[in-house]
């Protein structure tokens, strides 16, 4: 219920924003890739982290953390701003072992029973590892609860997840770190695939969008969103700089397309999740 209220608030925000077009510098940002892991807490308490996001003009942020406690702290501090995603990492060291670690599953089940989430992820998985039992169970859990999967991996892993659950919704972290043509091909094949552009500098240079990415954005205007990726605590002090950079190149796109990538696509995806969530 709380989640539906949050989404309703976001939709109201969207309606208000569409009624009064904003200058590029004021473009709200839906940041699809934020982490608030254990070492961030000490350097940036929740209130300060929330303040950092708000000052950068981040209206909503998809947050996952190693471990999940960081996300919960941020949700408590700003439920209107933070969209919680459950990362299957109790600590960062799980990043390279989690997919073969059966104890991850009871951890996820316990957290899912205790807290509300919009997604599972961001997790790292490549190739055939996506068919391992732990990953299969993650896909099942997401299906049962109508959650988004925030997947950092290659196209092969994405394909394997869709074979397990053709109805899955996947947010492809960093657009798979693959080239725009390959991203377009994946988006063409999978209607339930979205892409974040976190940690990618290639979409634009000097405020100008590259022709290859422009073509991808125009072909799939409702599938892209931006993200900072605060994978170290220091990166929290880059959130504002990143938002400024994003607004600069978004201003090179037609306004409706820029708004979609900046925040409307994220909000629309969250509305879908809210409609299908438990």
């Amino acid at each position: 219920m709380r989640l539906r209220h949050t989404v309703a608030l976001a939709l109201a925000l969207a309606a208000a924003a569409s009624a009064a077009p904003l200058a590029a510098a004021d473009l709200p940002i839906f940041d699809a890739h934020i982490h608030y892991s254990h070492d961030a807490w000490a350097n940036l308490p929740p209130a300060q982290a929330v303040d950092t996001l708000r000052k950068a003009g981040i209206r909503r942020a998809l947050v996952s953390s190693s471990g999940d406690e960081g996300t919960q702290r941020l949700v408590a501090a700003a439920p209107d701003l933070i969209l919680p995603s459950l990362r299957p990492y109790r600590s960062r060291s799980d990043v390279s072992t989690w997919v073969r670690d059966a104890t991850v599953i009871p951890f996820l089940e316990e957290r899912l029973a205790k807290h509300r989430y919009v997604a599972i992820g961001e997790f790292h998985v490549y190739g055939a590892d996506a068919d391992l039992p732990v990953m299969r169970r993650v896909v099942e859990l997401a299906k049962q609860r109508g959650l988004l999967l925030h997947l950092h991996g290659d196209a092969d892993a994405v394909e394997r997840v869709f074979r397990q659950d053709p109805g899955a919704r996947i947010l492809w972290a960093h657009s798979g770190f693959t080239d725009p043509a390959s991203v377009r091909e994946m988006l063409r094949k999978h209607a339930n695939l979205w892409c974040d552009l976190a940690f990618r500098s290639d979409p634009a240079a000097g405020g100008k969008v590259s022709p290859e990415w422009r073509a991808a954005f125009e072909a799939f205007p409702d599938r892209f969103m931006v993200g900072t990726d605060t994978y170290t605590p220091e990166r929290w002090l880059y959130v504002g700089e990143h938002a400024k950079w994003a607004r600069e190149w978004l201003a090179d796109l037609p306004r409706p397309l820029a708004e979609r990538i900046a925040w409307r696509n994220g909000e629309a995806l969250m509305a879908k999740v809210a409609r299908s969530g438990l």
Partner: protein, 391 residues
Amino acid sequence: MRRAALLLAASLAAGAAIAQPIAFDAAERARILSHGPWPMAWSPDPSNRVSGRPAAVALGERLFFDTRLSGNGLVSCAGCHRPKQHWSDGHARAIGHAEADRNTPTIANLRHSRWFGWDGAADNLWAQSLRPLLDPREMSFSIAALARLVRSEPAFDCRYRAAFGRSVPADDEQVALDAAKALAAFQETIVTGRTSFDDFRDALARGDATAMARYPAAAQRGLKLFVGRAQCSVCHGGPLFTNGEFAEIGVGHFVRPGVVDPGRHDGIRKLKASPYNLLGRWNDDRSRGTATGTRHVAAEHRNFGEFKVPGLRNVAETAPYMHDGSVATLREAVRHYSELDPDRVHSDGGTLLKPLKLADAEIDDLVAFLRTLTEPPAPFARRELTEPRCD
């Protein structure tokens, strides 16, 4: 390689107290050879019209050691870049008028660099030489004060005329840039000497097993790790033991709570904005032949928290380590790579930096190898009093 190994084995059979032979495969051998020969060939910097001129070197040396080039008259370039400490200072963070945010790097071998400073905010040595002079925490000097000093001090005025072939001009900025170019000319003469590693590398190149066997066994094992499993030579490559670029290696970069050192990301911004970069009017090379990198470099997200990959010659003598001097010993620096947090280094599926999980003995071997990059003691002798004769 096979021939060298056989020769080494034959030497061992002779019974001398020499190192046990270490087998290097073809790829390792190629990487070892790529770390030489030493010293490297060098030609004067085309962006600096007095690069390589003895008279400019003499002026630059005078300036380098003079504490009057500071706001309080107490700080010289040599206060941090101390000849007896291999042109570093031993402090975690540089201390001039106040404590700075970064460690003092050695200035040896800078003449081969493409970018200067931990963040690469300068693309030439003369601009880099001007930066600490003007930084309020370092030397806290000014363009006007520097020009005034060069004009008023006969020892500088005389050497300026000898170096630049004219009287000291009226334009303060011109004088300051010329002084910086003289400082650069002096620093270009600071080159580290040959080391026992260089002797080993050259012996390997010519297949001299007897000479190779003089290189300690622990250093050979460490070298094998360095160019092999540990992949150190990917970044610490070439004769300088650096690729001259920038990397994020999982070292925190908060300066203090709430304040971060952006490293290369901000360095690129400063470089682009600097009137003293190679694209500007102070570049003496009208062809701008060395400015291509400056023209095209652009900040990327990955640059945030990247710092320059330091060269490793004399590394055992230039503790503490990292951009902020946060690592006290060479052994700790090696251990950092053994135990680094992989999630602090962004992965796009095939990251180079992974925890090496080295055994203690392997860390010992890597440290033993790094110690062989130290040149034999060679006290620096100032030449200022004789070249040119102005006193």
